[in-house]
């Protein structure tokens, strides 16, 4: 009748209807049956194959019997009319436009899962679009907002500047604190400006940002000098290109000279304020430049 019930009634419908099956009456020998309706390679052990004797009810026959008995009787016309009337009322009231709930979806599993996977795919796609947009915007804001030319120039220029400055002597003021990469220069600048605003007032300086600034400057006492350097450098960078300005980094050779000169003249944190422009150009080197500078200092 159904696929599963066939599993245990492999020999087909009703045993007594079998065309040529040996009717031994007690089920013995059924397993060896090779003719009639039985398919040899589908032979299975049936519940009634091993009966010691006596009659057994074939399951398929039993199902047929039960179905016939339980479904017997004519459909009550009044009940049908009531159902149809209810259908009409519901239709006219618009109830049939109601949304399908999960328990109303009896489509085959593949269709249901296909519909669901389509929905899932679509939402994943939309989510990835949104996330991708955010990521792109984030990249754009950190990469594009500083003026491109200045940012790139600064890195390259200071690197070459320190390279040229190395033979000339010590270039970096020791007290100027750790160098920072170009990416954090903006942050430093902002922190320094904030520091100027809130200095000596309240607990705003206890914040993480403040602690970061102290660490970057190499100590709380050095913060003013450090910030002065950073701000002076930022100011210089924001000015239009002017070859006459010694702090400008457009021409590496020029800034290198400036860096070397001020470096030898400086040597403490205080010098940063005076020679800010030149010093910070050298200060923005990567850490290896600091090492090079130390070596050069040792040579002298």
């Amino acid at each position: 009748m159904t696929g599963d019930s066939d599993n245990w009634t492999p020999d087909g419908p009703i045993r007594r209807d079998g065309p040529a099956g040996p009717d031994d009456g007690n089920g013995h020998g059924m397993g060896e049956r090779q003719n009639g309706s039985g398919v040899p390679d589908r032979r299975r052990v049936r519940p009634d194959d091993r009966l010691p004797g006596g009659p057994a009810v074939d399951p398929a026959a039993l199902e047929t019997l039960l179905a016939a008995a339980m479904r017997a009787g004519t459909v009550d016309a009044d009940a049908e009319q009531r159902a149809v009337a209810a259908f009409r009322d519901a239709r006219d009231a618009g109830a049939h436009r109601a949304r399908t709930r999960r328990r109303d979806d009896w489509r085959p599993r593949e269709q249901r899962s296909a519909a669901r996977s389509l929905r899932t795919t679509l939402s994943v796609f939309l989510a990835s679009l949104a996330l991708g947009g955010v990521a792109y915007a984030a990249i754009g804001s950190s990469g594009d907002s500083p003026s491109d030319g200045a940012g790139d120039d600064r890195g390259r220029a200071t690197a070459s500047a320190s390279d040229e400055a190395r033979p000339g002597g010590p270039t970096t003021a020791p007290g100027s604190g750790p160098t920072d990469r170009p990416g954090t220069a903006q942050d430093t600048e902002a922190h320094c400006r904030a520091y100027e605003q809130v200095q000596g007032r309240g607990k705003a300086l206890d914040s993480t940002a403040w602690q970061w600034l102290v660490a970057a400057a190499g100590g709380e006492a050095k913060v003013p000098a450090y910030c002065a350097e950073q701000l002076a450098r930022a100011t210089a960078e924001n000015k239009p290109v002017n070859p006459g300005n010694p702090g400008k980094t457009v021409k590496p050779s020029k800034s290198a000279k400036g860096g070397a000169g001020s470096g030898s003249a400086g040597g403490n944190a205080g010098s940063g304020q005076a020679d800010g422009n030149a010093d910070t150009n050298a200060d923005t080197n990567a850490d290896n430049n600091q090492e090079k500078a130390d070596k050069a200092e040792g040579k002298n």
């Binding site: 009748m1 159904t2 696929g3 599963d4 019930s5 599993n7 245990w8 007594r16 299975r44 052990v45 049936r46 519940p47 009634d48 194959d49 091993r50 009966l51 010691p52 004797g53 006596g54 009659p55 057994a56 009810v57 074939d58 399951p59 026959a61 039993l62 199902e63 019997l65 039960l66 179905a67 008995a69 339980m70 479904r71 017997a72 009787g73 459909v75 009550d76 009940a79 049908e80 009531r82 159902a83 149809v84 209810a86 259908f87 009409r88 519901a90 239709r91 109830a95 049939h96 436009r97 109601a98 949304r99 399908t100 709930r101 109303d104 979806d105 009896w106 489509r107 085959p108 599993r109």
Partner: protein, 200 residues
């Protein structure tokens, strides 16, 4: 009953478009099995319970999605809920039930199986089925009378397909024993586990 599933699916689809004649066709195709199922659950009150179920079916028809076989499963789920509601109400004010005694008094074992297999009355079949444990009776009814396949019957019952298959197997085995006579008891019982394992 699966033979009508194509016709049933088409009728349901047209009924969902508002065709009330098509709804009547679907009713006539589904009602015998549905009523048999409800009868196995609630007995004499089956007609009323089935009527309630049809009210809900006709109201919610627009929500349904699926083919003819799916409609049988969906409507059986609704009928089952109505039947369980009915049984809960009945529990509050119970009625005397002579069911167990009736099953014991059945004439089945005394007739030969061939005679028993010729035909059995609706009442006799109903009493046999209602003598089963509830889970077995429901599994047998859904599989045999409503004509659902294993997964659909499991969905109606809210159980795993394996559990429903086992329950249907045990229920049918027990019915076969009652119909076939006491002499088969031992063999059926001894063979049970092996055949069960094979069927899963």
């Amino acid at each position: 009953m699966q033979a009508y599933d194509g016709e049933l699916g088409a009728a349901v689809a047209r009924a969902q478009q508002g065709d009330e004649a098509a709804f009547a066709v679907a009713y006539r195709l589904v009602q015998p099995g549905l009523l048999g199922y409800v009868r196995g659950l609630v007995g004499d009150d089956a007609e009323d319970v089935a009527s309630d179920a049809w009210l809900e079916i006709s109201r919610d028809l627009g929500r349904f999605k699926g083919d003819g076989a799916g409609f049988r499963g969906w409507s059986a789920t609704i009928a089952r809920h109505r039947a369980l509601d009915h049984l809960r109400r009945q529990k509050v004010r119970p009625r005397p039930s002579a069911l167990e005694q009736d099953v014991l008094d059945l004439p089945g074992p005394h007739s030969t199986h061939d005679q028993a297999l010729e035909a059995i009355s609706t009442e006799y079949a109903l009493e046999l089925v209602r003598g089963l444990p509830r889970d077995q009776a429901e599994a047998v009814l859904l599989r045999v009378v409503v004509g659902l396949d294993g997964p659909a019957a499991a969905r109606v019952l809210g159980k795993r397909p394996g559990a429903v298959r086992t329950a249907a197997y045990r229920g049918l085995k027990r019915l076969a024993r009652q119909l076939g006579g006491e002499s088969t008891d031992k063999g059926m019982t001894d063979d049970g586990p092996r055949t069960l394992g094979e069927s899963t």
